[in-house]
């Protein structure tokens, strides 16, 4: 908490509103995505992030524009916070050429290299080695940048997680391992896929700083990420952060949710990151009359605009199918 905030709330009003707006945008955007899916405008796999918004907003707002991100397939929120427009993401999921990956990637593969957003990766833990490499490049080039790898609890069981943590720690690479622990890998509860359910204990075994954070609290997430990023930027090496969160929706649109108890879901909904953030803003006296209505209106409009944009989007010409399998060589 920065002491200069008498309210005891670490953000100034405008900043706080911006955070809230982003969480609301993610929520609304995904609700609209689910509807578009039912309407058949989005196909393939669609993984909703609803309930986990505080992780994306807290973590990614704590990074600098020049830092890099490698995410997984549940990444709408990450892309939005990183500044990929709702238009570009919705168009991508509609399979349109105006999408952030030209419609080739869909929901699981949002890319915006101009923002150093190196994609949603749909092979669980498959993005971690890429993050190692991006950070290694920065280290070799002596650039004060960090790379954040975002993944789920399920990824922790994969060999690529293990190899990546060892490599990053061994080489003191500027990597932030951000584990969004939502307690399930698809239908498998943490205790049924991890022998060590305290993931910070497991990570600490590699000899890097490991900390658990309330993933329903954007401020707590931001604080932890900022500290870890600062350490990494100064050559202090990688950190592991467990963001304890929960997904309110099914794993994907196909998931009948046979594996968890509705009451458990309801309990977690009591910790809704948006409601929590709002009440803390209220306590701090940072919410003025009409703020919420205004934000909701803005967000609603932004999402509606994204849907319209995506609808109006064009299809990449079929002749371009084989384009970009290889990079065109510059003429010598």
């Amino acid at each position: 908490m920065s002491p200069d905030m008498p309210s005891g709330f670490p953000l100034a009003r405008d900043e706080a509103l911006a955070w809230l707006r982003q969480m609301q945008l993610i929520r609304r955007f995904e609700e609209a995505s689910a509807q578009a899916y039912s309407a058949g405008k989005i196909r393939g796999f669609l993984h909703l992030y609803i309930g986990e918004e505080a992780c994306a907003v807290g973590a990614i707002r704590a990074l600098l524009p020049d830092d890099a991100l490698v995410s997984h397939y549940r990444e709408h929120g990450h892309a939005l916070v990183r500044g990929v427009t709702a238009r570009a993401i919705m168009a991508e999921m509609f399979g349109k050429a105006e999408g952030c990956s030209r419609g080739r990637g869909g929901s699981m593969h949002l890319f915006d290299v101009s923002r150093r957003f190196y994609g949603g990766n749909a092979i669980v833990a498959g993005g971690l080695p890429l993050a190692i490499g991006l950070a290694l490049a920065d280290q070799l080039r002596a650039l004060p940048r960090v790379t954040a790898a975002i993944f789920g609890d399920g990824a922790v069981a994969e060999g690529e997680f293990h190899e990546s943590l060892n490599l990053a720690t061994l080489w003191k690479l500027p990597v932030l391992f951000l584990c969004e622990n939502n307690l399930y890998a698809m239908g498998t509860a943490l205790a049924r896929h991890e022998s060590q359910t305290d993931l910070t204990v497991k990570a600490a075994g590699y000899g890097l700083p490991a900390e658990a954070v309330d993933g329903m609290d954007a401020l707590a997430v931001a604080d932890a990420v900022r500290r870890a990023a600062a350490r990494a930027r100064e050559g202090g090496g990688p950190s592991f952060l467990e963001l304890r969160t929960y997904r309110f929706r099914a794993h994907s649109m196909y998931d009948p949710e046979l594996y968890r108890d509705k009451r458990e879901v309801e309990q977690w909904k009591q910790k809704d990151p948006i409601i929590g953030f709002i009440s803390r803003m209220r306590e701090a006296g940072l919410l003025a009359e009409g703020d919420l209505e205004r934000l909701e209106g803005e967000v609603e409009a932004e999402v509606a605009d994204a849907l319209a944009f995506a609808d109006a989007g064009t299809l990449e010409p079929v002749e371009d199918l084989t384009r970009d399998v290889y990079t065109p060589r510059e003429a010598p």
Binding site: G95, M108, A122, A185, G187, T188, H193
Partner: protein, 337 residues
Amino acid sequence: MSAGEKRPGTVRMTYREAVRAAVREALQRDPRVFLMGEDVGAYGGCYAVSKGCLAEFGPERVRDTPLSESAFVGAGIGAAMGGMRPIVEIMTVNFGLLALDQIVNNAATLRHMSGGQLSIPVVIRLATGAGRQVAAQHSHSFEGWFAHIPGIRILTPATLEDARGMLWSALQEPDPVLIFENALLYAMEGDLSEDAGAVELEHAAIRRPGRDVSLLTYGGSLFKTLAAAEALAREGIDAEVVDLRTLRPLDDATILGSVARTRRAVIVDEGWRTGSLSAELSARIMEHVFYELDAPVQRVCTAEVPIPYAKHLEDAALPQPPAIIAAVKRTLGEAHG
């Protein structure tokens, strides 16, 4: 296949239900059998194949695993060495790459390398194929590619009968068997004889006899190929459709016999063209029935691109009936050209 009245003595079911029936039968008949893989239990299987099995057989025999493809596939191999008959489910072949070391360097190798001291009766089920807009990392069709590996058997059930019958037969094999289930087929509905059971694994099947050209295919492409054959029939072209069924070992007698009869062949393969199984088939035809050929063998394969998400691009990347029809006409045309 999904049209029309239910035939007497049959049950109407989906491919998914046929596989489930096979899994349940295996678990009921042989105490050494167990099912292991990601989300096969509480979730019911990512394609709902094993839905209900956890409740029926319990967590010992229907085992959810962590995301650890290499370890649980290797564990299936080890359990087979230890006297069990594991059915290991790899959600999709896309993740199977993470277990390829275990499949190639252990499952396929240990028997020969040890001088024949052990057998590894493990069955590995994998979903495969594109066509569901799940994009490049989830749309691989590697069943033909894996057929390169000696020491394993590769099955590609395309019909309800094979979906129902191949698993039990695979479990009787003393060596590792990989069963590739094309994910697009799970929802396919049809009538299956009430007493459907194990099927033989030795032979390719002629799904449609014909005189003018042999269409060689397998798995997800079978029904596209049959559709193309019907369209050709309406134009007076009588195509024979051969379903390979087993990709390793290949049933040369049936495949080459068909081509020798029709003197023309078109191969339809959902793998990327270069180095796909279609190449091996063409090479074998070259080697064995060259002098019977009236025209060069044609191949209809997947475009050599990571499979895109957008439907129109994905459709364009995959083998489709029009391309099959065009290839058939080329082989016929060239014969007179």
